[in-house]
Subunit: 182 residues, 3 copies
Amino acid sequence: MASSFTFMPPKIGVLNISDRASAGVYADTPGQACVALLREWLVTPFELDYRIIPDEQPVIEAELRRMADEAGCCLVVTTGGTGPAPRDVTPEATLAVCQKILPGFGELMRATSLKYVPTAILSRQTAGIRGRTLIVNLPGRPKAIRENLEAVFPAIPYCIDLFEGPRLETIPTAMKAFRPPA
Amino acid sequence: MASSFTFMPPKIGVLNISDRASAGVYADTPGQACVALLREWLVTPFELDYRIIPDEQPVIEAELRRMADEAGCCLVVTTGGTGPAPRDVTPEATLAVCQKILPGFGELMRATSLKYVPTAILSRQTAGIRGRTLIVNLPGRPKAIRENLEAVFPAIPYCIDLFEGPRLETIPTAMKAFRPPA
Amino acid sequence: MASSFTFMPPKIGVLNISDRASAGVYADTPGQACVALLREWLVTPFELDYRIIPDEQPVIEAELRRMADEAGCCLVVTTGGTGPAPRDVTPEATLAVCQKILPGFGELMRATSLKYVPTAILSRQTAGIRGRTLIVNLPGRPKAIRENLEAVFPAIPYCIDLFEGPRLETIPTAMKAFRPPA
């Protein structure tokens, strides 16, 4: 029997969390902004798992679990639902499904946004790990998505290495990932 | 029956948490410092709900719940009880009554205080939302109260907008509140 | 009956958390780096409680409890186990045994490490208080240990004062501790 080596591209989940986008009232601009950034920075081909869901905590948790456990995404980025409004529950859903919390992501993203707007402190975004999946909350506005993901992305490929996920390589001129010397 | 439109001024709670101040041993300087800042910055007239209580977690929780649920304060600022001493339990009481935690407030207040004293990292102050009430922990020393509240106040009126509380307007020359363009 | 006054030196715990070091595969360099820093900075003589243990959460919790409750250490510094790898569980063990969490320590240590490496946000290190013991998580690499402990140490003697632990004095030319004027 012939054996063949097949490259399985890593999977990345993009989860657009928005009542209005999921109802078709709004364009899914934040999710598309994430996809555009991943394509701009990553040289590693990846398979995209893209969903638009409403701001319902059980729905968000179920989708995060599916993307992590069933789809096997090494990275899931969420957009939206991180503010102080009653419907904003993305951080609670993220904390509920993750085994490890990474407070440094939220700290750095808020510090970065504070250079632009004093309301950055209202963002409750966080990050964490479920099994072999890194989950990162991003805000809902495309400009803020870029500023935030740009700040934390240099640490993401090495984070995925540390839980033995697939090796992600970036285009160094677009995004310089950092891996400490062994 | 004649109907009349009555302007109900927003309520703001100031909760001075201190064993010694509540026993009358100390003047309630920290609470008064908060009131003075609110009067210096806010152009919107507000009704003040002012209390001095000891560092007892059940008492603090009960008072935060009363100010939020019964008095209907849109904002409650606490002073004192945020340090590492055994009697310091204000953050625990705040976390216990809030449905949403806003870690960015504590991060920014500590980073601000760090410019003045290296012991700023000992402050465990946080902020959160209970229903339609924003609760913000402040330190106990008047100088630190000003430094801390000044750092986070620009985001407070918009935060209250986001959970559909009353509109607070500041005197722009004294305190510039920020609301992102719609 | 003659009474004598005996100076009991304060106890400090150094807990090197590493599967490989505890198996003797690795030298216990991180723990030794902590001891060297404490000896470089502290003028107060102290008794050292030094252990090397594997990355097992129940073992770490038991050791932290022993150092706090039985040995009576006023300060315990841990090294290692703060990253996102599956075996990294030091912060979880720390959170589990502490009554009070001090988020400012982790925030400042990550902000400090961010000046050197963008992967600093992957460190989940924290600090907290159990009874009369301050527990501080440090990273595993000696260079990072110095950078991190140097950043937070100025606040440590005053923190121990606040829960009525022993008075630690530093060599001011090596490490300037800060105590606010009474």
